[in-house]
Amino acid sequence: MGMVKVRVPTAMRPLTDGTPEVTIVGDTVRDVIEGLESGYPGFRERLLSDEGTQRRFVNIYIDEDDVRYREGLDTPTPSGVTLWLVPAVAGGSAP
């Protein structure tokens, strides 16, 4: 099983009680999300839609690669990689 470092953005730190990096065991992105959820409840809802797909407001990178353009939630997470959770930065403007 892969030991994956997960970098937690400030936007999700309330879920880890302020911890910026946690280590999770999992062979795929989906496994890692489930591992996060069991250790820090609330991650699944923040990362996945009700249908279980990756939410548009969150991007998941394995080192430099956006998993959306690889195998999505089934993208392998080899031991030693860092998984970056990157929420969108977006806002409104004129009405």
Partner: protein, 217 residues
């Protein structure tokens, strides 16, 4: 974070200089083109800083700028087409409205910031007094330094702890601004709006001698 309220943003006023310059440029361009095809003023940036150990204050130290992919990224276009435009109105179908930073830029800015001991705290964007400078048919909705419904939707879903809005308003020949900051609305309780965050500007530095002799209180 247990005991963390993040209810205060501390900053030097000059830290926003580049953002304000861009905001004024965008605003003036909009005014200059208002009788032809009016330019939609848009300025935004990422806020970098640190959290104070007391859990109450965030220190904003830098503004970083990224690439806007509002009109080019497939995922973003789908979000606008399927959710934002149906929920918040047809004006948002115009790609000149709203911004969305390139996700890769957010990642790189996050990494660069981390290497310097900083965090991405959130973002800042501008609101013009569209009810005064916009085309006549769009003067019904007043913008201000408070978030629009669409802003709150984005703040909730992105979750960043600090969301600043800079409102610009013309009076006679002068342009004024108001800066306000907002926390993310609850992700769980969708009826809750964004809570205001107090902005405090540095007034002066205390001399080291004074701090040593009188303590920090």
């Amino acid at each position: 974070m247990t005991g963390m309220t993040n209810s205060i943003a501390l900053m030097d006023w000059w830290m926003l200089t580049d953002f304000i310059d861009e905001t004024i440029y965008q605003y003036r361009t909009s005014l200059k083109t208002r009788d032809t095809e009016q330019h939609l003023p848009r300025s935004w940036g990422l806020l970098l800083g640190t959290f104070d150990p007391d859990g109450e204050a965030m220190r904003v130290k830098e503004v970083a700028f990224g690439t806007n992919v509002r009109e080019t990224d497939e995922t973003v276009l789908a979000e606008f087409e399927e959710v934002i435009v149906p929920c918040f109105g047809k004006p948002y179908a115009n790609g000149g409205r709203g911004f969305w930073c390139s996700n890769l830029d957010v990642l790189q800015i996050t990494r660069d910031a981390a290497a310097r001991g900083l965090e991405v705290l959130g973002s800042i964007h501008s609101h013009p007094d569209w009810h005064q400078i916009g085309p006549e048919h769009e003067r019904g909705q007043r913008l201000s330094q408070t978030p629009t419904a669409m802003d709150e939707y984005l703040f909730r879903n992105t979750g960043w702890p600090l969301n600043m809005i800079c409102y610009l308003e013309s009076r006679d020949n002068e342009i004024f601004h108001t800066l306000a900051a907002w926390g993310p609305p609850s992700f769980v309780d969708k009826d809750k709006g964004a809570d205001p965050i107090t902005i405090r500007y540095t007034l002066a530095r205390r001399a080291l001698k004074e701090v040593v002799s009188h303590g920090n209180g």
